[in-house]
Amino acid sequence: MSETDFVWVASLSDLPPGSTASVEIEGREVLLCRTSEGVFALDNLCTHGAARLCEGKLKGQRILCPLHGAAFDVRDGAALSRPAVTALASHPVSVNGDDICIALVE
């Protein structure tokens, strides 16, 4: 993966610690999460019920789906609780100064 794969998606100053935001890149909804451990990017649609995770809640390093409460680890997208069993796609993030850039994975 080269630097050119990363695209600018948001400003760090618009994403306070503990908050989330959804952005659209190449027709794909991506969820940005800023936690105590950094900025992470995941697919925005829950792998179980396709609800929008940006309408859920960020707790620590977990994002919780507003529909069934399924939890995912924002650091790698792992499904932590039922009813979700499939991980969310997790996209590499690069933060330079105020710029948040991500590289979409398949």
């Binding site: 179980h48 859920g56 809640k57 620590g60 919780l64 507003p66 529909l67 409460g69 609780s81 009813p83």
Partner: protein
Amino acid sequence: MSQSNTPPGSARASGPAVADTLASDSRGAPEPLLEQCYEFMGDEDIDCSRYTSQAFADTEFNRLWNRCWQWACREEHIPDVGDNYVYNIGPYSVIVVRSAVDVVQAFINSCPHRGTQLLGAEGCGYSARFTCPFHGWSFGLDGALEGLPARWDFPHVSADTHSLASVPCETWGGFVFINLDLNAKPLADYMDVLPEHFSHFPLERRRIRLHVQKVLPANWKAAQEAFMEAYHNFETHDSPNGANAQYDVYGKYVSRFIHNIGNYSPESLDDYPGDKWRAPPLTENQVLQIMSVFGLEHDEVPPGETARSVAAEDLRKRIGAALGVDLSATSDSLMLDSIEYHLFPNMFFFPGITVPMVYRFRPNGEDVDSSLFDFIILEPLPDGAEHPEPPEPIRLDVDQSYTEAEGLDWLGPVYDEDTGNLALQQQGFKTSRKSGITLGNYQESRIRRVHMTLDEFMKEDAE
């Protein structure tokens, strides 16, 4: 080995009692700590089968856990509307939810359609409504049935008949309590002196610093009883104090011990084996040295001071600065002592500053031979500060050591000692040719009180 002719339960260890220590402290203790409340409750053995019989455990699920108040989580676990906490006890599962800014409710975690649990594992969660993962029936945060796919097929179903089953839910001291008995008496009827006593030590103004949850290899009652007396300190912890702890039993549901830390009476050990700590007795400097694990400024007791007064003052400064709280008027006793209140059946609250724990002991699933021990350090919060998000529990399995839990520090080996006898005891219950265990009249009185109250619940028609 017969004792004197004094009435049973009236004998005490030799040397100064807790009340004598509190009276000679550098700062007076709050009123509740000066009270004493004990009466002899009998000396019959407690049947071993209460700890080992699956039939007894099953009856406990039906008649005890189904009917007693128990805390499920802290309020800081569910700060925002939609935040929930799943609490499991034996076969039962409850969802606690903040359904409105100032409203906390509890519901049976089971869909009224075909019974599926709405939420999975125990712990914190969030959802804007509850949606069953099986057929998608959905419920508002107030439990009301909202969404019913293919409603045409369910003319017999409505919000009146098929909303989530609500169970009694109340808060006290920052804890959310639930009761699976729809006709439960109010929590206040169950708390005896706790609200009055803890008005001096408000637990709602504390935050969870550390939460460790461990599987223990013994019945939940045996596990908690390892923490209800300080009689074991000499043998289990190789510790010189504990023999003169004070024990109080307040009615059916609440009991207490006060175990002084930082003082020591060689007389209290006068019939213990060997000369250890008695001849020669420990010096005040040696007592201070034992407390060095607390992180003290002094390593010697200045003239005119005691180890207890020096340690209390060092800790007022160090913990006060670390937490941003003013402890300048806090009594020596609250600063140092292990002061442990028990609320029936399985909850412990420590108002102390250096010893600020909360314990909860539960059956591990439905297994009679093991239990789950929740250990929480509940630290004072500065005035005006909001509760931070609580840490996730560190989970330890039965074979793991408390020394593996980051943050427990010097307490790790102590809790390994406390729990190290449990497997031996659980097996010992089964091999014993004596039908019951024997309790000391005073030091183990709190254990007896729990069994007496448990007997009341185990009756079919208990209140």
